[in-house]
């Protein structure tokens, strides 16, 4: 009875997936509409894409978002990996419970609360020390704080399942603890580092609420620009922009998925060969 799925279930599944994709498909359709009115089909046109290339506001915001995203994901992978090592390798230290709490809290904390409290901190800091001025820097600081949590949790689970015997062997052969870790365990957790880097990048690129709260005049990320345009009503160039973003991200996810599946298959083959 393994592969017998009732037609009713199949129908629900297909309808569910269709419902997930229908709005996106419709939006992609609108992006090629020559008419600016959504209710009228004015024929096929790529004019909204051409207009997008000349929209400096959107291009600048996209560049800023990417720069912030790369710094944030790199910074939070470093901090999150350190936190994961601390939590897995050091079972007892002062502040361990505090660290566990601070790593898990951002996952249940509504973004708007995190954002408002961080803004209040930045305002007070600026008042007291004259630093930091609100803008890209405060966005980066705030993003690293919540991305670190996701990195820690991803890397922690990988680190827990990583075999320590190789590292111990390296130490017995004379490697220092740091050298042994870098040579043996780091390659084992590298996939987790890569995927948490990508996850942080996605979270940072997508964040609207915290960015809008902690940013100052002059620093507008892509979601902030999109949000202010969308709030005013329909804007056909946003359809084009959304189509580009969705296709790009979709291609990346499918590409990464295929690569990972191939690597997994290769690993399985290798272990089978080794066992023979």
């Amino acid at each position: 009875m393994e592969n017998r799925v009732s037609p009713l279930l199949i129908t629900i599944l297909c309808l569910g997936i269709a419902a997930l994709y229908l709005p996106i498909a419709v939006m992609i359709g609108y992006s090629f509409n020559a008419s600016a009115l959504v209710s009228v089909w004015g024929g096929f046109s790529t004019s909204w894409y051409a207009r997008l290339l000349h929209n400096d506001q959107i291009l600048d915001a996209a560049r800023l978002s990417l720069q912030i995203g790369v710094i944030v994901s790199t910074g939070s992978v470093v901090l999150g990996t350190l936190a994961a090592i601390a939590l897995v390798r050091f079972q007892r230290f002062g502040g361990r419970l505090l660290l566990i709490g601070m790593v898990n809290a951002p996952l249940v904390m509504p973004e708007i609360i995190t954002g408002i409290t961080q803004l209040l901190l930045f305002i007070s800091m600026l008042h007291l020390f004259g630093w930091p001025h609100r803008g890209a820097l405060t966005i980066i600081i705030a993003h690293i704080a919540f991305c670190t949590s996701y990195v820690t949790i991803t890397v922690q689970s990988r680190l827990q399942s990583a075999d320590r015997s190789l590292e111990e062997a390296a130490m017995d052969l004379g490697a220092g603890p740091v050298g042994a870790f870098i040579d043996t365990t780091l390659p084992l957790i590298a996939p987790a580092l890569a995927s948490s880097w990508l996850l942080s990048l996605t979270l940072s690129l997508d964040d609207l609420v915290i960015s809008s709260l902690v940013s100052g005049p002059g620093a507008s990320t892509l979601p902030m620009v999109i949000f202010s345009k969308v709030k005013l009503g329909v804007s056909p160039d946003i359809n084009a922009l959304a189509t580009l973003i969705i296709c790009l991200v979709g291609a990346c996810v499918i590409f990464a998925g295929t690569l990972m599946r191939r690597a997994e298959r290769q690993r399985l083959q290798d272990t089978q060969l080794a066992e023979r």
């Binding site: 592969n3 709005p23 209710s39 509504p110 995190t114 408002i116 209040l120 969308v230």
Partner: protein, 317 residues
Amino acid sequence: MTSTAAPDESRAEGRCAGSPAVIWLVRHGKWLIILPPLLYLFVFFLIPFAFALKISFADMALRVPPFTDILTAGPDSHIRLTLNLDNYKYLFHDEIYGLSYLYSLRTAFFSTVICLLLGYPMAYAIARTSKSTQSLLLLVIILPFWTSFLLRVYALEGIIRDNGLLNSALLWLGIVHQPLRIMGTTLAVYLGIIYSYLPFMVLPLFATLEKLDHNLLEAAADLGSPPWRAFVDITLPLSVPGVIAGSMLVFIPAIGEFVIPTLLGGQNNLMIGRVLWDEFFGNRDWPVAAAVSIAFLIFLVGPIALYQHYSGKQLES
């Protein structure tokens, strides 16, 4: 010095003995690993709540930053602490906060239930397909999660607005003669939350249903139990962890949601995230906004965190 780390450290010390700096580094090196994330999160995640607490006891003031100091130096150079409880009293007097608290709870709760009712059959169907189909279907479900949340909410607007696809179709079919007004209603907020968070429900449900031992179901069938009975007695109880995990993943972000009520729910939507934003940017009353944040923390985030803590402990034992 810890018991687990001690053997490694003494071994390392034995090798690098000599330079006192190296010995110091080996003995205290673990703090080089622990301190950066600990300090960072302490300063930029925990301290902000202390500031919010402080500001929630302050008064609104026409200056930069727009609130009074609660610590002031008195004339006799004693530091004086002035706690202003008006902001908290205001929360209980102005009924918008009570209403929006209940409205947010109700909206998040019913969205979670509907996500569960839709997501369960989807996850069940995926779990019943072959392995290769499974990974394809999972990719299809996850893909929207990786694309921008904001853009997906915007895309949904294209379906449900007055001249959107849904109304065009209904008008064309002659089912309605006037476009349905969905935008700006509570229904739109429900649709937005369900559309955005459905994948979060399907994935953990699939993870538990996939591990389900089919032998149990076959045994039940062999013993003459009808399929629905086997489902109620075996599948449903065994999938409870997935149900709870999925419900948490939908309920927690839904309750503080800001984008969906703002874009789909209209100007007067009562979701707490939107009300808080208005207090902050519209009225620029930061002390009240800080008080709302603290109350939010106590009445919503606190119970959820406690629940997760204790259910986690129960699972461990």
